[in-house]
C-alpha cells in the first residue's frame, strides 16, 4: 500500500495505520478541480451540438473520481471499502440503464 508519495507513521500497537497525504497532493487535486470547473463553464459557452452534455458529464466524473480517490483517501482504503464503493455505483448504473432501456424505447422517435 505504501508508495513514494506517502509518509507512513507507525504509532502505538493496533492503532490505525496512518497515511498522511503530502500537502502537494491535496493542492494539486484542488487545482485540478478548479481547472475542471473552469473547463465545464468554458465548454458550456460553445455550441458543440450533441457533445455539450457528454463533455460536462466526463469532466464532472473526473472531478468526482479525484475527490473520491484523494480527498476521501479511497486510494489507501481496504479492498472491502472498494467493493462497497464500486457496488454502489454499479447499482446506480442498474438504476439508470434499466430505466432508460424503458423510456428511450417507448416511442419510435429520437428525443
Amino acid at each position: 500500500m505504501a508508495d513514494a508519495t506517502t509518509t507512513d507513521i507507525e504509532h502505538a500497537e493496533h492503532a490505525p495505520h496512518v497515511h498522511v497525504t503530502p500537502l502537494l497532493t491535496y493542492f494539486l487535486v484542488f487545482l485540478a478541480l478548479a481547472i475542471g470547473t473552469i473547463l465545464t463553464v468554458a465548454a458550456s459557452r460553445y455550441d458543440l451540438g450533441m457533445w455539450n452534455t457528454p463533455i460536462a458529464l466526463v469532466i464532472a466524473t473526473i472531478k468526482a473520481v479525484l475527490v473520491i480517490l484523494f480527498f476521501m483517501h479511497v486510494i489507501h482504503s481496504t479492498r472491502l471499502t472498494w467493493v462497497v464503493i464500486i457496488a454502489s455505483f454499479l447499482w446506480l448504473g442498474v438504476l439508470f440503464v434499466l430505466t432508460f432501456a424503458d423510456y428511450l424505447t417507448r416511442v419510435w422517435k429520437i428525443y
Binding site: V18, Y26, T37, V41, S44, A56, V67
Partner: protein, 229 residues
C-alpha cells in the same frame, strides 16, 4: 484477527474512545470507515433516484430544460462550486492535521470549512430569494410565462431545481451542524494520530456533498441550447 484473551492487563490502558466491542483502534477505524461508505452508498442511490427522474424529463423536454437552466445566474453557481471545492480542501487539511496531532491546525481548518460552507449557503439563499421573487417557485407562486407553451415544463425543471438544490442544501446544513460539534471536539483535544477516524468520517460526508454539487452545477446551470429572449 487476534485471539480474545481474558488477560486483565489488556484492558488497562485502552484509549478513552475505543468502544468495548472493538479489539483495537485500528479495527474500530476500519469498521467505521466501511460503515460510513455503506451509508454513502445509500446516499448515492438517494440522489441517484432524483437525478434519474431529472434525466428522464431532460430527455423528454430538452428545450424547457435549457430555458430553465438559463434562468440561473451561472456565475453564482460557478463561484459556489469553487467555494465548495475550497471547503473540501480545508476539510482534507483538517483530517491531515488530526492525523499529525496538530490540535489547533485541526480546529482552524474545520472553522475554515464551516466558513466556506456558510458562504455557499449564503449564496444559495440569495439565489432562492431571487427565484422566489421572479415567480420561479413551483406551484401557485409560479409566474414565469415567457414561452407559454413551455411554461409547465419549465416549472417541472424548477421543481427538480428546488428539490435537488434543497436536498443538497439540507445536507450542507447538517454538515455545518456536525462541523460545529467537531470544532468543539477538536478544541477539546479528542483527536490525534491514534484516533482521527471521526474527523476522517466527517470529511467523507463533506466530500460526498461536494461531489453531489459537482454534478448539480452543470445539470442545473449549464444546459446548452436555450434560444429565447
Amino acid at each position: 484477527m487476534s485471539v480474545v484473551t481474558n488477560d486483565p492487563s489488556a484492558h488497562e490502558h485502552h484509549h478513552p474512545f475505543l468502544q468495548h466491542h472493538f479489539e483495537d483502534l485500528g479495527q474500530q477505524h476500519e469498521a467505521s470507515t466501511l460503515g460510513m461508505w455503506m451509508f454513502l452508498a445509500t446516499e448515492i442511490l438517494f440522489f441517484g433516484g432524483v437525478l434519474c427522474a431529472y434525466w428522464i424529463y431532460r430527455v423528454m423536454y430538452p428545450e424547457a430544460w435549457a430555458i430553465g437552466a438559463a434562468q440561473q445566474i451561472w456565475w453564482l453557481g460557478a463561484i459556489n462550486t469553487i467555494v465548495l471545492i475550497i471547503s473540501s480542501l480545508t476539510m482534507a487539511l483538517a483530517v491531515r492535521n488530526a492525523q499529525l496531532g496538530r490540535r489547533m491546525g485541526t480546529v482552524a481548518m474545520l472553522i475554515a470549512t464551516l466558513f466556506f460552507g456558510s458562504i455557499f449557503l449564503g449564496v444559495k439563499a440569495y439565489e432562492y430569494t431571487k427565484h422566489w421573487q421572479e415567480g420561479l417557485f413551483p406551484g401557485l407562486a409560479f409566474h414565469w410565462n415567457e414561452v407559454p407553451a413551455l411554461a409547465p415544463k419549465v416549472q417541472l425543471f424548477m421543481t427538480f431545481y428546488w428539490t435537488l438544490t434543497g436536498l443538497h442544501a439540507l445536507h450542507m446544513v447538517i454538515g455545518a451542524g456536525l462541523l460545529l460539534w467537531f470544532i468543539w471536539r477538536a478544541w477539546a483535544g479528542h483527536f490525534g494520530p491514534e484516533y482521527y477516524g471521526p474527523v476522517e468520517i466527517m470529511g467523507l460526508y463533506w466530500h460526498f456533498v461536494d461531489i453531489v454539487w459537482i454534478f448539480l452545477f452543470p445539470f442545473l446551470y449549464l444546459i446548452h441550447g436555450a434560444h429565447h429572449g
